[in-house]
């Protein structure tokens, strides 16, 4: 049925009519705003007042007897929407979680007009039935997903259920090239709750004009959370909770955003889930890239004419000598004084000390072979990564035998280019390690100093023990300020590393093209 009253909209293939109500017409595709949508396509759904559109999968398309166009959408969750339940999971930058389980927040009926555009999502599940995406497809994808989020248990599952919201798993996986489109089914699944009833129900309770262009996305919350959130209704912009609930029954529900502004959710250690989707500058996550480069790098240079120097499996040959020597820290200090300490940068962060030692042997030997014909081992220490260190560039301290050798090595690395398997050139420089001097004060720890009175027992104990602070104290408020600052810092640092990553990627692309 073609609706001519609406420019920019056209129904496509018809699928069937309702079982109970024959006036309901189901469709497999439609044209909207110049884009063709098919059943099981992934779409963005616009919602007023939301900075980011919702993302969902069209699992049913139909027209009600009074000619309203509806779609049933199975939701995808962005990591930032389920932050609270992520725990230690670190989702990929462009990862989504498919809703699963039976409950509120799984899927909703929405007016078709709420669709804002197509979204390209690739299923990266390793399931045998899932046609595996090609690297190009992955590059092109806006998002990927391989895990689901159970809306009842609030848990992330690795498995995709056989059926979610009445949709068979094969329609959730990627489409195989030969099975384009949707399988022919005359009627929508009967065991599913009556879609038209549902639609009518929501139509009756929600004025059509009210929810026009606005998807209803409701998610379940704990009762306590709802209570808490109702108070804070309309307040925040924090994106840290699942808590946007729009109860179906209230007419203006979609306008009410219950946002959980409780800061106690947010001070999380990891940065991952706070990635804003707009930052999906890199199509592939960093983790993925690393993996790929790891797998490919050994063979990459094979075709090269230059003689490749291969590292043997790093074996702790020197284990015995290692223990006889003073700890690296001490030797490092001495080396620094003697000028034999060199900092190597731009290493692969996954390298270990022994591997760096090998790399350095090459720097060292090449110049030494000419001079003395000597092969000597130097010792290296790969610096451990912390949350603030760069994910792009690993660092290592190397102690050379002589000052001369250290100088030459730096110079050689400066004028020449020693490249690692993935094409990255090594950088060497002089750097003073931080002295292990005792530091007694810590920024952010406050002590009340009262010369008149000795510290009361209470304050003394508070300082010397560890405790979780309760939300009704001044300390808690102050702690929140620190959490906020921490989060801001993390975000900025993350952003910087991401921009740097983009820049490095550009350089890498240059490498390959030549």
């Amino acid at each position: 049925m073609v609706d001519t009253s609406d420019i920019g909209f056209k129904w496509g293939k018809k699928r069937g009519v309702g079982v109970k109500n024959r006036e309901i017409k189901y469709y497999e595709s439609f044209h909207f705003d110049g884009v063709e949508y098919n059943l099981y396509d992934d779409v963005y759904l616009y919602k007023e007042g939301e900075p980011e559109p919702y993302i969902g999968k069209l699992v049913r398309i139909w027209e009600t007897p009074n000619k309203t166009r509806r779609v049933k959408v199975l939701w995808f969750f962005r990591p930032c929407e389920i932050v609270k339940y992520l725990g230690t999971e670190q989702p990929l930058e462009n990862e989504l979680f498919l809703a699963s389980g039976e409950g509120v927040g799984l899927a909703n009926d929405n007016p078709l007009e709420a669709i804002a555009g197509k979204c390209h999502i690739i299923c990266t599940s390793k399931d045998a039935r899932n046609p595996q995406p090609s690297p190009e497809e992955l590059q092109k994808a806006d998002f990927v997903f391989s895990r689901t989020f159970d809306v009842v248990e609030y848990k992330i599952m690795d498995k995709i259920d056989e059926k979610i919201a009445g949709t068979e798993v094969k329609n959730i996986f990627n489409r195989s090239p030969n099975r384009n489109g949707v399988e022919k089914v005359i009627c929508p699944d009967k065991e599913d709750e009556d879609p038209h009833n549902n639609a009518l129900l929501s139509e009756a309770k929600v004025k059509p004009s009210d929810d026009h262009n606005r998807p209803l996305k409701k998610r379940k919350l704990d009762a306590s959370e709802i209570l808490g959130n109702e108070l804070k209704n309309d307040e925040g912009k924090s994106t840290d909770a699942v808590g946007h609930q729009t109860p179906l029954q209230s007419g203006s529900a979609s306008e009410n955003k219950f946002r959980n502004k409780n800061l106690n959710e947010s001070p999380r250690g990891e940065r991952g889930p706070f990635l804003k989707p707009e930052e999906k500058l890199m199509e592939l996550s960093r983790g993925k890239l690393d993996e790929v480069s790891y797998h490919q790098s050994p063979q990459k240079d094979d075709k090269n004419n230059y003689e490749a120097l291969q590292a043997p499996l790093p074996i702790d040959v020197d284990k015995n000598t290692w223990f006889k020597e003073p700890p690296f820290e001490e030797r490092m200090q001495t080396a620094c004084e003697q000028g034999t300490l060199v900092l190597l940068r731009n290493l692969d962060p996954t390298y270990v000390s022994t591997e760096v030692e090998f790399v350095t042997t090459i720097v060292y030997n090449l110049q030494d072979i000419i001079r003395q014909g000597l092969k000597e081992k130097c010792s290296a220490k790969m610096l451990p990564q912390t949350t603030t260190s760069s994910p792009h560039s690993g660092q290592a301290f190397v102690i050379f035998k002589t000052k001369e050798a250290a100088k030459t090595a730096i110079k050689k690395l400066e004028t020449g280019c020693l490249v690692l398997p993935d094409g990255r050139p090594l950088v060497g420089c002089v750097e003073t390690p931080c002295s292990p001097g005792k530091q007694s004060t810590f920024i952010g720890h406050l002590v009340i100093s009262n010369p008149k009175q000795p510290q009361t027992r209470g304050t003394k104990e508070a300082v010397s023990t560890s405790h979780c602070s309760q939300p009704n104290t001044i300390v808690y408020d102050m702690a929140m300020e620190w959490c906020l600052l921490q989060q801001k810092s993390d975000f900025v640092l993350d952003k910087l590393y991401k921009l740097q990553g983009v820049e490095l990627k550009k350089v890498k692309a240059l490498l390959k093209s030549k």
């Binding site: 001070p267 043997p312 912390t386 398997p421 050139p425 007694s440 508070a462």
Partner: protein
Amino acid sequence: MASTTETEYAAFLEKVKRTVYVDNLSPQVTEPVLRTALDQFGMVKNIQFITNYIEPEHIPKHVLVEMEDEDQAKAIVKLIASCPLMIVGMPRPVRACAAKVEMFEDRPAKPGRKIEVRWLDPDDPNFEVAQKWKKIDKRHAAEVRFLLKQQKAEEEKLAKQQADNLKANFAKYEMIDAIMADGTAARLAEYYGLNLRDES
């Protein structure tokens, strides 16, 4: 031989999963302190401070805490994320996240990896690119250093602000205490006909 390194590496990966990275620690935190602090949430198996070789000295201490199993590690991360935990000092809380392989100083090498390194010929077309890359790396390092410095400044600012507030509050309470103690409050109450005693 190969299989032993592989099993060793697998065991190491398991250990990584069991481990929590704890950050923002005061330099006064020692192993026993940390152990008591985290023992209330699970069994602490091992504590290993990450040596700070190069980062500016102001960077807080960080530590890797190995728990009995992965669940305990996850629980601790979750807990510290949900309510601020303070160890040896207030009010700046510690933070925790799952440990990563690269954080371990003495980690075993990934088995089966071969590293090929070579010097580029100056005539190689990639030579220029590599030179450029080196420059970029240097700039990046400088950028990060600058940013961390900025962040330290911000931390100091916040600490100072909080310290000032605390001092002011403390002075206020001291003053109240003092006038209560020397009878000034009582005299004033009498003068204005107020009842100071809280008898409700």
